[in-house]
């Protein structure tokens, strides 16, 4: 929905004309923090196959943000409240069954989109300016003022703390719910806690870097990392690294794009970050593809070698 939120950071950063000013530091710092949290939480999103929920929370949060705008509450709080309610609704419908997940997410997303349309309409009526809708959808949410930085850090830390606390039972129940249940892991409660962490992460990411980048940094780096290593902690490390690198390179490229065609217009950060994340995902598939090709060629020699050994 918020197609162009990430154009705002570019404007914010470069309007001042300095690459080293404080707004840049806040944007790069907060962006990196969000990329790290998204990378770590995203590894489980990919393992558990919950990318759709991750994407849906971006739109559900936007509905919450619109509602908050209407009530005069801060948008970040609106995103958080919207997503927590959304997570609760998904859990109620039956997210814990893999087959039901897709549907539960879809039902909640559909309802949230409808509510978002209503909130936007009511906002436009009550503010009697059409600019309000644009502010929420495309707008100035990125203007991370230094005052929201503590809240951003608090929510990010909460997400990491949830994942760290439930790490072992979460990993076990993500890989095999049956084995986890047999060992006495409360699979449903663990799943619900993880969904809460995911909801908070996406609320945080969507409001700071926009809904496009929120999904891109949640799913892309983690999926690439999981193709590179089988170790979950290492995958988290790689995912965080890829996410931070993609975001920073994207910001630098957007800065340079001032001189690119058609000239005088900045290319959006989100375009570059998505392109980098996509390339990282495709490249991460190469080692496996090369190994498979080698193995496919190898069987011709395999029987002979086996015969020699036997």
């Amino acid at each position: 929905m918020s197609l162009d939120q990430s154009r705002a950071p570019a404007a914010l950063i470069f309007a001042s004309g300095f690459f080293g000013n404080e707004a840049v530091h806040v944007a790069l710092g907060v962006g990196a923090a969000v990329a790290i949290v998204a990378g770590v939480v995203g590894v489980f999103t990919v393992i558990r196959g919950q990318s759709f929920a991750g994407e849906a929370f971006g739109d559900i949060g936007t509905a919450g943000g619109s509602g908050a705008f209407l009530l005069g509450i801060g948008p970040l709080l609106g995103f958080v409240i919207g997503n927590v309610i959304g997570a609760g609704a998904m859990e109620l419908i039956g997210v814990q069954r893999p087959r039901g997940r897709d549907l539960a997410t879809g039902i909640v997303l559909g309802a949230a989109i409808g509510l978002g349309a209503l909130f936007l309409y009511l906002t436009v009526i009550s503010q009697s300016t059409s600019g309000a809708a644009q502010t929420i959808l495309f707008g100035s949410v990125f203007e991370i003022s230094s005052s929201t930085v503590p809240l951003v850090i608090l929510i990010g830390a909460a997400c990491l703390a949830i994942v760290a606390t439930i790490y072992r039972p979460l990993l076990l129940s993500s890989v095999s719910a049956e084995i986890a249940a047999a060992r006495g892991v409360p699979v449903r409660a663990i799943g619900a806690l993880y969904l809460l962490a995911l909801a908070l992460t996406v609320a945080l990411a969507a409001i700071t870097i926009g809904t496009i980048l929120s999904t891109a940094l949640l799913v892309g780096p983690a999926a690439a990392a999981l193709r590179l290593t089988k170790s979950t902690p290492r995958a988290m490390l790689y995912a965080a690294g890829i996410g931070v690198a993609a975001l920073w390179i994207g910001v630098v490229l957007a800065y340079d794009s001032d001189h690119w065609p058609p000239g005088g217009r900045l290319w959006p950060v989100s375009f570059f970050v998505v392109a980098i994340v996509f390339c990282a995902y495709v490249l991460s598939g190469l080692p496996v593809a090369i190994r498979e090709r080698r193995e496919r060629r190898a069987p011709a020699q395999e029987p002979a070698r086996l015969g020699a050994e036997g």
Binding site: G106, G110, I113, V274, G285
Partner: protein, 268 residues
Amino acid sequence: MFSSFMVNAWEVSGIVAVVAGVVGFFTVMRGSAFAAHAIPNGAFAGAAGAILVGASTLLGLGVFALAGAAMIGLLSRRGRHDVATALALVSMLGLGALFLSLSGEYSSEVESLLFGEILGIGANELLPTAVLGALCILAIAVLYRPLLLSSVLPDVGESHGIGAFAMEMLFLAVLALAAAMTVPVVGTLLFFSLAIGAPAAARAFTSRPPTAMALSAAIALVIVWLAIGASYETNYPVGFFVGAGSALSYAAGRLWAGWRRTIVWRAG
């Protein structure tokens, strides 16, 4: 409410509802809700691109919807399905962000594509919607048996020579066609709510596929027409009523299924 300019809205939205209900039945059956969200949303970027180069928005929508569908299908061959869908979606949206910022002004045409302008549908939109809608229904009718088998029992389908990958690509193409057709009329948001809520409700009422598909189309039709009427009376957006109607019909289906289960349980 039934004045001449509204006639177009009733007719076009009726076609959209039936297509969403029918295509949505297989969407829910196959667990493709994410693709049904991603394709129309990503196609929206195609409209932004069309505005940038001065081409027809319907063409832009169609090209991006089909490209997105192909990308989802191809990427999921070598990776997880939901990851492939997410990456295809953000790639298209990233391009959309680029198109929007290169074309400079935030176009009001783009905003109307997000939410649709169902009450402002012109008579000239009736023909393309009807043709594309008929194509979607025809495609589903032709693919019905193999698609159903491949959705319910993919392994049995494979043994009968119905390739799961081919079926997935064909289904995604139909989904893309439906998305391209509905987005200019009702926006990206309405299509998704209808294509998930109505069939999910229908499947709770009956387990027979043909009945469920017909019921799904009927529920979608009722939701859309009630929503338009309610929107006309209250001035609230159509999307709100469609979203609420979809969620409520699903809740009703769940309640009914639960109630029937207790009856059966007591009788048994």
